[in-house]
């Protein structure tokens, strides 16, 4: 590219062509002295081609601006900086390409130059490139006076300082960072004087910069005194602090320690971590110690909480009656609690790092390891029943095993909680046995009650059977004598049918009693049930000379009950009543059955006898195996009570007035039954 002098033929006054001059108002007076010197000027340049070449190839931008501020010359380096072509540039003034914020100062310097106050000036400023990005430059400008008809012009040398500016900015930023970093930062000279502290330090301690940075002569009287840097330490820590400081300085090692320092914001002490390292020159000589103090109060507090929580958890683990353990993926024990050690009679050392097969007998070990494997594969908590052999024999445990995941989501261990259920199982078994025994007793008792009734029931069956046989035999006899008349036969047969029916009805009734059927609840009228049972026990009453009274409420609500069980209860109460009166001589044997509704709307049944009574301790009769009978098992009332309670009712006894006992039971009225 040719270095061009541009268009110098434009003779328009600078004053009118560029507004910015008006702003300053300095060029007005000079405007009239301007003359066209283009020819001489160009000749001057052409005379010295060497200068031209030098300018053209210079790495430094060179430009010329005419007296109205317009560019009138530029080398290629300058054009490159701004990104304009030569002709484009010559359309612009230097003000056009100067960054707005830098214009004012630039123009002031120009004015000083025009006014002759200075021969040249230097300015660091920003240019707009053609693409409107900014470019930091340092410009040296000199006024070239008009000579030999050549108008004076400004000559400028422009240096790109973007890189330097960037470094400066970076440095400024870093200093800013250092001041604002949320740690107390300082430097200390090898003689122990603090020569830098950041703003954060001052803010955090509330101490003045002067105090902290004061010379050791002012505070180090003994040669080992506490520096102002550490003056926030509590009294009991001051000596340690001073020693650490001076030791660090003298050995050139610096220091690192945790200590509490007073905290200005609330006057309390905070935990800080204080650390200083030596800074050495090229020869390795310590030139500074640089240090930072970090507030670790939240960390300390978190640590404390963590420790507390860990202690707490530990206490839970160690006091747990369950066996708690942790194994790695290979099944090696990492942790076991006290219960585990105690149960297996092993010490921590014996257990840690060992696998089940190294500690326990083969079968349980294989089973346990198999379960571990399942958990590893499934990756979810699982529950197992495991058997372990202990001193007193095999123990069964419910073992809850669960995987532990690391932050990458991989299983790194298996935790386990084993609860010994041997005892529970045993008592469950005992309970089942006991329950079976009770059921058996209940049945036995029912059969005993049946036994008491067996005599009369046998009689009941035998009567119709006897009649049937008698009638049949009589007919056979008459038939053998050819003396059987048809009306006699018909009468006999009719009686046979009636008696057989009667016998089968009795048998059906017996079967209903002794059948071991599960409870089958039906809505029924208790009065009907009472009548049924009374019919069944009719013979007992007559044989024992017991007078029966009934006082049954009309329109009794229905109850939802198992007919057989309720018959059982009623039968039991009635038979008890009869027996209670068996020895009576001097007064009537009176058994009264009442039905009604109690105040809660339940159906109430009372069985009253005039017997000897139980005395005050009426409730004792419900205890299993309590009996006043020579051959009784003492189960009847106990079972009756559980049957009634199973139906949601109550069974109790009170003394009768003037003699005997009243047994009451209630049953809830069936929902929606007529009342």
């Amino acid at each position: 590219m040719q270095f061009s002098t541009g268009n110098f033929t434009d003779t328009r006054p600078v004053v009118t062509s560029i507004n910015c001059w008006n702003e300053i108002g300095t060029a007005a007076g000079n405007g009239g002295s301007l003359v066209d010197m283009t020819k001489e000027n160009r000749a001057h340049w052409q005379n010295d081609q060497r200068w031209q070449t030098a300018f053209e190839n210079s790495a430094i931008g060179i430009m010329m601006v005419d007296f109205v501020g317009r560019f009138c010359g530029a080398n290629s380096a300058f054009l490159r900086m701004l990104g304009y072509t030569e002709s484009e540039l010559y359309q612009l003034t230097f003000v056009d390409v100067t960054y707005e914020d830098d214009r004012k100062r630039n123009l002031e310097l120009v004015r000083e130059l025009v006014e002759g106050k200075r021969q040249h000036f230097q300015i660091e400023k920003r240019y707009y490139r053609k693409d409107r990005t900014l470019l930091w430059v340092r410009t040296n400008v000199a006024l070239v006076p008009g000579m030999g008809g050549v108008a004076p012009f400004w000559f400028g040398i422009v240096e790109d300082i973007t890189q330097r500016k960037r470094v400066e900015e970076e440095l400024g930023f870093q200093i800013e960072v250092l001041q604002k970093i949320p740690a107390m930062v300082w430097t200390v000279t090898p003689d122990g004087r603090c020569d830098f502290i950041n703003q954060f330090f001052i803010d955090a301690t509330g101490m003045s910069r002067e105090y902290i940075q004061s010379h050791p002569d002012e505070w180090n009287n003994s040669g080992n005194d506490l520096p102002p840097l550490f003056s926030g330490l509590p009294s009991q820590e001051r000596e340690r602090g001073a020693n650490l400081f001076w030791n660090g300085i003298r050995t050139g090692q610096g220091w690192a320690f945790e200590a509490q320092h007073s905290h200005t914001s609330d006057g309390t002490y905070h935990w800080y971590f204080d650390r200083a390292v030596p800074l050495r020159d090229l020869q390795g000589k310590v030139v500074r110690f640089v240090g930072a103090r970090t507030d670790i109060e939240p960390l300390k507090r978190a640590q404390e909480e963590l420790r507390e929580s860990e202690t707490r958890l530990q206490a839970f683990f160690e006091n747990s009656p369950s066996l708690i353990f942790l194994k790695d993926r290979q099944g090696r024990y990492l942790y076991v609690n006290n219960a585990f050690k105690k149960v297996h009679r092993l010490t921590e050392e014996q257990i840690k790092g060992k696998r089940d097969d190294e500690l326990f007998s083969a079968e349980p070990a294989v089973s346990s390891q198999g379960n571990d494997q399942e958990v590893l594969e499934a990756g979810i908590p699982m529950e197992f029943e495991e058997v372990a052999v202990q001193e007193d024999g095999p123990h069964t445990s419910i073992v809850h095993k669960f995987p532990l995941f690391n932050t990458d989501g991989e299983i790194y261990a298996i935790g386990g909680i084993a609860t010994d259920i041997t005892e529970r199982k045993r008592s469950e078994n005992e309970l089942v046995t006991l329950r079976d025994a009770q059921a058996e007793l209940a049945r036995a008792s029912r059969l005993t009650t049946m036994g008491e009734l067996a005599a009369s029931i046998a009689h009941e069956v035998n009567q119709p059977l006897t009649a049937v046989i008698n009638n049949s035999s009589a007919c056979l006899r008459l038939l053998a004598d050819h003396n059987l008349r048809s009306e006699v036969l018909r009468g006999a047969l009719e009686e046979i049918v009636a008696d057989s029916t009667r016998a089968s009805a009795v048998i059906a009734r017996i079967r209903a009693f002794i059948k071991k059927t599960p409870a089958e609840k039906n809505e029924l009228d208790l009065n009907e049930l009472i009548q049924d049972v009374l019919a069944l026990t009719d013979r007992e009453f007559s044989e024992n000379r017991v007078l029966v009274e009934r006082e049954l409420a009309k329109a009794l609500p229905h109850v939802l009950v198992d007919r057989v069980q309720l018959q059982q209860v009623l039968l039991n109460l009635i038979m008890n009543g009869i027996e209670a009166m068996a020895t009576l001589i001097s007064r009537p044997r009176l058994l009264r059955l009442e039905s009604g509704i109690d105040e809660s709307g339940n159906v109430l049944v009372a069985v009253c006898d005039s017997g000897t009574g139980f005395g005050l301790d009426a409730d004792r009769v419900f205890t299993p195996f309590f009996t006043t009978k020579e051959h009784g098992m003492g189960m009847g009332l106990s079972i009756s009570r559980s049957l009634i309670e199973a139906h949601g009712g109550r069974l109790w006894a009170t003394p009768n007035s003037p003699h005997g006992t009243v047994f009451y039971f209630t049953l809830p009225a069936a929902a929606g039954s007529p009342s």
Partner: protein
């Protein structure tokens, strides 16, 4: 027909009662039935050969109570017990008290009828015996005190001479008393007289 044998049935179960009546009537016996011991005891004791079929378990007085009551009243009617469920002590008690049979319901018809026959036969025999004794008693009442003394010694095997010596009377006088007593008693021989006195021994001794 007061001489025809009569069977009494006491059972509180109407079916059993009527079936027994039917069964027993098939062998031509007359049957009278009662629903309780009490009603039976109210009846006048029969003058004819009879037998009682008695249920053990009854409303009110039981069969065994009834047996006892009859004995107290000196009514010697043979009893065939029937029961729904007999136990051994009950059976022993009944048999000791003179029951003909103890049958458990239901029973074979023949067993009952056999027992009734035995009972009736026993009653008939008892009645004949009672009648003969009553007749001998009447005759014995006609004897004088001396005649009674003489024949009691004759029966005991003493000779006329010994009797005369014992009584301090003449031997001929003893012979007259003896002949007159034999005549009053309708005795054909000494042996006949001994049998008659033996039969009377019970009441005779009782009187003594």
């Amino acid at each position: 027909m007061t001489d025809a044998p009569l069977v009494f049935v006491v059972d509180d179960d109407p079916s059993v009662r009527s079936s027994l009546k039917f069964l027993i009537s098939t062998i031509g016996l007359h049957v009278e039935s009662f629903d309780s011991a009490e009603t039976f005891l109210h009846r006048k004791p029969p003058g004819t050969t009879s037998c009682l079929v008695l249920d053990v378990r009854l409303h009110g007085l039981s069969g065994l109570d009834c047996q006892r009551e009859l004995a107290v009243r000196n009514i010697h009617i043979p009893i065939v017990f029937i029961t729904g469920h007999g136990d051994i002590p009950m059976c022993v008690r009944a048999m000791k008290a003179g029951a003909v049979e103890f049958l458990t319901k239901p029973f074979r018809d023949q067993d009952l009828l056999d027992a009734i026959h035995i009972g009736l036969e026993r009653d008939r025999a008892r009645r004949e015996e009672e009648e003969e004794t009553a007749m001998l008693q009447q005759r014995f009442e006609l004897l004088t005190r001396r005649e009674r003394e003489v024949i009691s010694m004759v029966v005991s095997g003493m000779l006329n001479k010994q009797i005369a010596g014992q009584l301090g009377a003449a031997e001929n006088t003893v012979k007259v008393h003896r002949a007159r007593a034999m005549e009053k008693m309708h005795a054909q021989s000494i042996a006949d007289l001994v049998r008659m006195i033996e039969k009377l021994k019970g009441p005779f001794q009782k009187a003594a």
